[in-house]
Symmetry: C2
Amino acid sequence: MKERAVFFLSDQTGITAEALGHSLISQFTGQNFRQMTLPFIDSEDKAREAVQTINAASKKGSLKTIVFSTLVQPELREIVKDAKGLHLDMFDAFLEPLAVELEEKPTFALGGAHGMSDIETYMRRMEATNFALANDDGGISRNYDAADVILVGVSRSGKTPTCLYLALQYGVYAANYPLTDEELENGTLPDFLVEQKQKLYGLTITPERLQQIRKERRPLGKYSSAQQVRFELREAAKIFRRYGIPHVDTTAFSIEEISSRILDSTGVERRVRP
Amino acid sequence: MKERAVFFLSDQTGITAEALGHSLISQFTGQNFRQMTLPFIDSEDKAREAVQTINAASKKGSLKTIVFSTLVQPELREIVKDAKGLHLDMFDAFLEPLAVELEEKPTFALGGAHGMSDIETYMRRMEATNFALANDDGGISRNYDAADVILVGVSRSGKTPTCLYLALQYGVYAANYPLTDEELENGTLPDFLVEQKQKLYGLTITPERLQQIRKERRPLGKYSSAQQVRFELREAAKIFRRYGIPHVDTTAFSIEEISSRILDSTGVERRVRP
């Protein structure tokens, strides 16, 4: 299938342009997109360079290039629009109606969305990340009094990346604890977790998927055997039921979705806004 | 100052709606926004619930509510538009021109942007996260042959959160190594780093900022003294110069910006798209 070039243009990281553009193009499945991000377009020279890059891609392909743009500064937006392609410009679409409603002119300052808004936000994210690391995998600190949420589940059910994402994205203090063989066999949680019962949140996963993930790490042995995986998940489910622990099946979800669902269903407040 | 309610509506995590909305409202500094995210609006009931929540907020405040929406399904978008406020709808603005150009109807399927697109993406992000953890703080693995990039810098210059962000967002294998007192005093890097010189990337920070960050952790002692902080940063800068290591000053940047700048300036390829 013919490739179509898609560009995400930004004067900052490109994260917003990518998020916006990707959610739109993922609505069209009969296409073959080649995605490229051009971040930090913050001068007229860089804007002209971006035009050249886009035009070169357009020349190569026979399909019209799509350009998603979140450039803030009007003079750079003007330059970039010279590039051949269909331009979908977030600021064009939304800034004007917003300015009218707010009765205020936009500052056109860079760095709003993913810039360092303040030192406090940075500190909070760093501290939350340190907390997640110190309380990863049942380990070192077990500083569960300070936790906003404690994820429990079997090995490789997605606890660690979810805790780190909760810390980095939302500044949430997330600990995690892997259920041990002993706990799975006895069907009981240790006292230090029972004391924090209201903070516990379970991650589950289908046996097939868990086996596949574990095999990536250790192809042979009990750890990734169908029998062991089934046993662990069955017993973990019993523990969740016995203690009334809310849980989510991570099989069909991305790390973003799991994190967002945990916040949504526990009501844990984020400590920072992105 | 009067508060104005701002809602981010999504049938998924809300991350795209937040990124879009936040980059727009941050252009207006003379306002007092109260931001709320309503994720997982994926049924008519939930859409009607969202309308009630928005109307309740609108009733409380005297300023018109702003509603950023990334809902995909047309019937849910219709319901939500009954809510009182200024609606800025990403799909309204961009889906139609995109569909015309692509000559294809949108699927209106959920889960495109931050959904689990495939197991491979999930695995890569997990593996990259595990790599970052195993190679954090100069530790355990030192599996630098497999690294895409190795961050070097003094303690608390932002290495760990940056590595984790690179892993989670981009699937990049990022290790980090804290410069030791010995290395700072001798001005030399250990052989195992010199061998990977092309992968090294330095993080710097201003002395004032570093001292502030260190004081949060340890208020007293040499570690957070002005003299020690200045010494470490001066010697680290010499090492970066001596070995020709590219570097970025993290003082004024968010974790997203630092990460994005590293990719942009090293040319390291991301392994996943969000």
